[in-house]
């Protein structure tokens, strides 16, 4: 499975606070963004036309880094 560039100006709901989160067309699937309402980190996961799916970003793991 591959990630697709999310080439739209669209919106979805924050899974934590239910706020509407809009994104510009430069967003990429897998990108981490910040919910403008609750400041949670969200991952862009899917799109269905103008609708975006978000997930809460995973917490930092011990093996994360460079």
């Amino acid at each position: 499975m591959t990630q697709e560039a999310v080439a739209w100006t669209a919106s979805g709901c924050c899974p934590l606070c239910d706020a509407v989160v809009a994104l510009r067309d430069t967003a990429e699937a897998g990108e981490v963004i910040t919910c403008p309402e609750c400041r949670s980190w969200l991952v862009v996961r899917s799109s269905d036309g103008s609708r975006i799916g978000f997930e809460a970003a995973p917490v930092v793991e011990e093996d994360w880094g460079q």
Binding site: M1, T2, Q3, E4, A5, T26, E28, A29, G30, E31, V32, V43, A57, P58, E61, E62, D63, W64, G65, Q66
Partner: protein, 281 residues
Amino acid sequence: MTRLAVLTDLVRREEKRILEAAGERGVDVLMLDIGATVFDPETFRPHFDVALERSISTVRGKYAVAFLESLGVPVVNASRTARICEDKFLTSLALRANGVPSPGFAMVFTVEQARRAVDDLGGFPVVVKPALGSWGRLLARINDQDALEAVLEHKDVLGTPPQKAIYMQEYVRKPGRDIRAFIAGGEAVCAVYRESSHWITNTARGGRVSNCPLTGELRKTCRRTADAVGGGLLAVDLFETPGGLSVNEVNHTMEFKNSEDPTGIDIAGAVVDYCLRAAAA
């Protein structure tokens, strides 16, 4: 046209810059989500010429790279380089074996061993780091015996098995900054100073970044460091000491988002160019 697979899980600013740089070069990019791919050699078909490992997770990246290499796909960085760079102890051993100047170090597993290592490293302070870790997390500057015992007891009681392998390093007094140099194919591309009033200068911990000129000594040290760890795309952290440059750590999935502006160098472009060379090799 060369097709480049970028192995990711979370897409950071760096991955977006790599996408931009690939687009500028007319390179076809496949973003391969490690968290959504089944790495089964019976079913996976690599429809790309070269892969760039950009996973935020060292463990995921390691297995994805090993898998693709088993299929004969060139991967940047190669598993040999990653295996050394992901582990600070293995990095120190490789640097020492190749005569690259670096701080004194030791691996210990108990408080008693640690006490002896402190003496061998020239006394307090010493630095304790996780052998596997990044972003300046869980680093401890140990100033005395009490702190040494406390930190090691916490690791022993609360830590996972990898955290109970104690990498100890000589504490290097640096002039309020260190150097991060970016290497592609053995040659330094650019470098930055990371300044902080804190002894930890990682930009992830708030270190400020400014351009660092590439001197002859810095270029030479980068070349020798790349040779020591197997080459590829590397970010090398160095200390300035009275005796010359000393290599602290080597990173194999470099983060560079804070370094392109101060250096004026297209690091993402250098990353893509190196991948194209790896595909053609």
